[in-house]
Subunit: 366 residues, 2 copies
């Protein structure tokens, strides 16, 4: 990523347009869509806001799955704009069932959008967006909106084929570049909704962004150096092949989950995300977590809100490969030994290796 | 700026908080304010939007100076949110007079905000914000809002002392780092207005950002690598001393203006900005401009809208020093020679050197 440190090129030059054009095309490959994927200089939250303010009007209703901090956020954004949010509340760590989702549609027939979280970072749980979108579409004419912030680039997502109406993601997750960019795609149905949406917007006016992208431009000055990094990251993804990228994350997630079980720990989320694994803390959990971070220098995250002190989360998306995962598992084993958690030495590593070699949990793209 | 290419540190770490805390304090020095200066991951336009949506309500009225594309933008943002914008229209290249500004107050006594553009990038003109703020404040209880996007770090700006209520700037201008961050400060009066503002906001909710900055945090994931670059840029500014930075830009702007006049060209803007100089194109202007960019590799900008084909603009803020300015002047002289514009060879360089040596146009911080 040294290219990001080179002298800044101006965004209204042929040189930058060429980079931005290529990156935008590769974003369509990443999202598996023929629709333009718009680049915003913003965190992912801004793209979530853009999804709602460009397609809804004050007084509209939405349904959103609320099983973690990011699912909850859809509701918070809606409420801030005078849109009524009906939460489908599920236990943290779980995923919504199709039946519950359909029951919400029955209860709120006027809902204009159904908002999902593909991989809920706060809990490590995974939602089967393909199945959910297929079931919803049978009887729902509104928008199916997906927060793909930790999922895109880790889990299979086929925007066009699955009938998603809006998907958003951020730069620092599956794309492996620093934070500061967010991406959003809209289906024809969503662009049609944008025609009648009356919620106010200016910076996040996506119709302006769509018009600009036709000439490889953005309405406002973009984060140029991050776009240059994006271009490189997407080229790497393209060379690896998106199916291989998904399979790699499946393999990594499976290996960590197998290791955790072999060490006598339990998983928090079901079904689990392949981008982040949340694990229930063992006895002497605070001490274990502190060791993991300080003695073994593992970038783990604590639980938030009511799972604070109960779980820890390990993220494994982007650059991660098998060796990185073994290093993480070795650190977990070592910290468990330090706090006196009973386990067979090397059991976690052995379980992970079995996954890598295909003798356990055969890896498939779901 | 090689530090920006190093492995990404997570934003919720002690290491990042220390950097962000120091940068935020140095931003207060840059703005000359005791108020917190908030960092947004956004272009400068997003910070302009944040200024209005955090302090106004639908149906409110504002006055804004409209003498270029950026002055016009205040009106466009307001209108998008259902706020009535009264433009004080002035000729492009000019600056508003205090009398005209006061007359606008008389005509629109209900105005809640008066929006200014300190340095209008599209025309290269400068507004005396100190004088304007002093005159407005005598009879205006609303908010004095300043777009400082190309001014902060180039022109003297004393947020607290001058009684400014909101000022915004961006990362890629006076701060010399890549685009992607914007900064905003609010006075006590503006924070009070935020208490009753009902315009919708979520990503740009500044009350959230103010709460976060108290613990050196941001509500949403910031553009971490850009913050690291910001920290370095601000340290450099602090070492140079803000008064010296302003004086350097004054010296550079003065030298270019003296050179332009000595070469028989005329300036477009009056009064002129010290961040960007706009110059009326000579005969064979298209050819001259193309030579400047292609043969002499000068980063000049064309005129926009109705001054397209009439002016060219040279920006000189941030890293610029005397040698850079001489290189620009030499390029202008050479391109003039190429198109057969009559001028004394070396007259521009001589005029600039006279400014540098203090034998002409003694440099003062205004």
């Amino acid at each position: 990523m040294l290219r990001m440190a080179q002298p800044i090129i101006h965004h209204r030059t042929a040189e930058f347009r060429e980079i931005f054009k290529r990156a935008s095309e590769n974003l369509q490959y990443l999202f598996q869509t023929e629709q333009p994927v718009l680049t915003l200089t913003s965190s992912g939250t801004g793209a979530m806001e853009a999804a709602l303010v460009n397609t809804l009007s004050a007084g509209d209703e939405i349904i959103h799955v609320n099983g973690g901090k990011f699912g909850e956020r859809w509701g918070n954004i809606a409420t801030a704009y005078g849109v009524t949010a009906h939460p489908l509340a599920i236990d943290w760590g779980g995923a919504p069932s199709v039946d519950d989702a359909l029951a919400m549609l029955d209860r709120h027939p006027g809902a204009k959008a159904f908002c999902l979280t593909h991989s809920e970072t706060s809990t490590g749980s995974y939602t089967d967006v393909r199945a959910m979108a297929a079931a919803l579409r049978e009887r729902f004419d509104g928008l199916i909106i997906v927060d793909g912030i930790t999922a895109v680039g880790a889990h299979e997502m086929r925007f066009d084929e699955w009938g998603i109406d809006i998907a958003v993601t951020g730069s620092q997750k599956g794309l492996m570049i620093p934070p500061g960019l967010a991406f959003i795609a809209l289906s024809e149905r969503a662009w049609k909704a944008a025609e009648t949406s009356t919620l106010p917007k200016f910076y996040y006016n996506l119709k302006k962004a769509k018009k600009s992208i036709a000439t490889a431009d953005t309405p406002w000055t973009p984060a140029v150096t991050l776009v240059i990094g994006l271009d490189q990251a997407l080229e790497m993804l393209r060379v690896e092949g998106i199916e291989n990228v998904w399979a790699r994350h499946d393999r990594l997630g499976s290996s960590l989950r197998a290791a955790v079980r072999a060490l006598g720990l339990t998983l928090f989320a079901d079904p689990p995300s392949n981008a982040v694994t949340s694990i229930n803390l063992p006895e002497r959990g605070d001490e274990f977590y502190a060791l993991l971070k300080k003695k073994y220098s593992i970038t783990a995250a604590a639980g938030q809100d009511h799972v604070k002190g109960k779980i820890f989360r390990v993220s494994h998306l982007g650059y991660y490969d098998e060796a990185d995962m073994l290093a993480v598992i070795y650190a977990i084993e070592s910290a468990l030994t330090d706090v006196g958690h009973p386990h067979e030495q090397g059991a976690g590593l052995a379980a992970a290796l079995a996954v890598f070699s295909g003798t356990e949990n055969p890896v498939e793209v779901k």
